[in-house]
């Protein structure tokens, strides 16, 4: 075999070996465990912090107010839907206070008149005309509207 061919074959073999070595070094260990992706990614995503802890956590301290809410029209609402995520508050109730929405716009997100809202499903009010100078919560208790 001529020398130039031998050199070419050697070069080819070296390129293939280099490719295999790099592929071995650069591919994460769990890649291909379940499919064409990194198997460990599933556990990493599953380990994310849960921020909305749910009404069961609220009941343990605020039982009277949750019971009041559950007896009224807002019984289907989750506490954190209005007050925000409580994951920090349950760990540090004194330091981390939750949001207390009181603006007319906040109530209006659900209760302002919009033809797209099913009339039977939700009470609607023209928030521009209905006592515009007062906050909604002056007359309506949000936990027992």
């Amino acid at each position: 075999m001529p020398l130039h061919l031998k050199r070419l074959i050697m070069l080819g073999v070296m390129i293939v070996l280099l490719f295999l070595l790099l592929k071995h070094l650069l591919t994460p260990a769990s890649f291909g465990q379940f499919g064409h992706y990194r198997g460990k990614a599933i556990d990493e995503i599953a380990a994310h912090q849960v921020k909305f802890v749910g009404n069961t956590a609220c009941v343990s301290c605020h039982d009277t107010i949750v019971t009041m809410k559950n007896e009224g029209y807002h019984s289907d609402l989750s506490c954190e839907g209005c007050h925000g995520a409580a994951y920090l508050h349950v760990d540090h109730p004194k330091l981390e206070k939750l949001f207390k929405p009181d603006s007319r716009e906040f109530c209006g997100k659900c209760h302002s008149i919009n033809k797209a809202r099913p009339e039977k499903a939700i009470t609607q009010q023209n928030i521009k005309d209905h006592h515009p100078e007062d906050k909604c919560i002056k007359c309506h208790n949000p936990h027992q509207p």
Binding site: Y37, A41, K51, H74, K109
Partner: protein
Amino acid sequence: MTEKRTSLSRRNFFRNAGIAAGTLVAASTLPAFDAVLFAAVKRNTKGPWYGIAIDIEKCIGCGTCAKTCKIENDVPREPFFFRSWVEQYTILKDGSIKVVSPNGGIDGFTQTVPADDIEKTFFVPKMCNHCAKSPCVQVCPVGATFETEEGIVLIDEKYCIGCKYCVQACPYGCRYFHPDKHVVDKCTLCFHRVKKGLNPACMDNCPTKARISGDLNDPESTISKFIRTRNVYVLKPHLNTGSKLYYNALNQEVR
């Protein structure tokens, strides 16, 4: 000349005819190719197979789903990128269609069209369809996005190179480029909550319970019953993405 004559000999004719007949008989025992089966979705048979259902008739467009999703999943409030958002469709009496989604619906909706001009209007909450044959997964060049066995489409944010090809590929516009992480991000169906036995944050906080998610393999689950008893529809069914986001009472105008 001699060779050509040999190839046309009686012996060769009988031999070739025998092979052809034998192949035909053997092939006739194979199951016929069925294009419908070929295109069908291969679903998980061992464990849960998650899907989502949204009841348009119950949605009041408050945007709580979009707001809670951002908090739960560390999506920056601004710029306005969304894993989950709400659109308002307004079909006017002259036949034109107006679609609005101010800030993804996170601050609520104000109807700007005069009430007399409206033929029909409704809210359409949107999110990842968790397709069983996701176009976005198929185009990823590095294997950074994938469908889990439970039918949830996820992104490996450590492996994503940020080429955004999947953002282009998603027919529902459900992916965006995360401005801080510099990788593509999308709804995980709150995989971290589902794995702990909780519902996704948007479902738990929806005030009218218009959103349901659950196991489609369990015939007794709320979502299976919902899909059986309602007239449900998926977005862009002609694309055969195997979408698992079912809408009740969806208008054909919704894209």
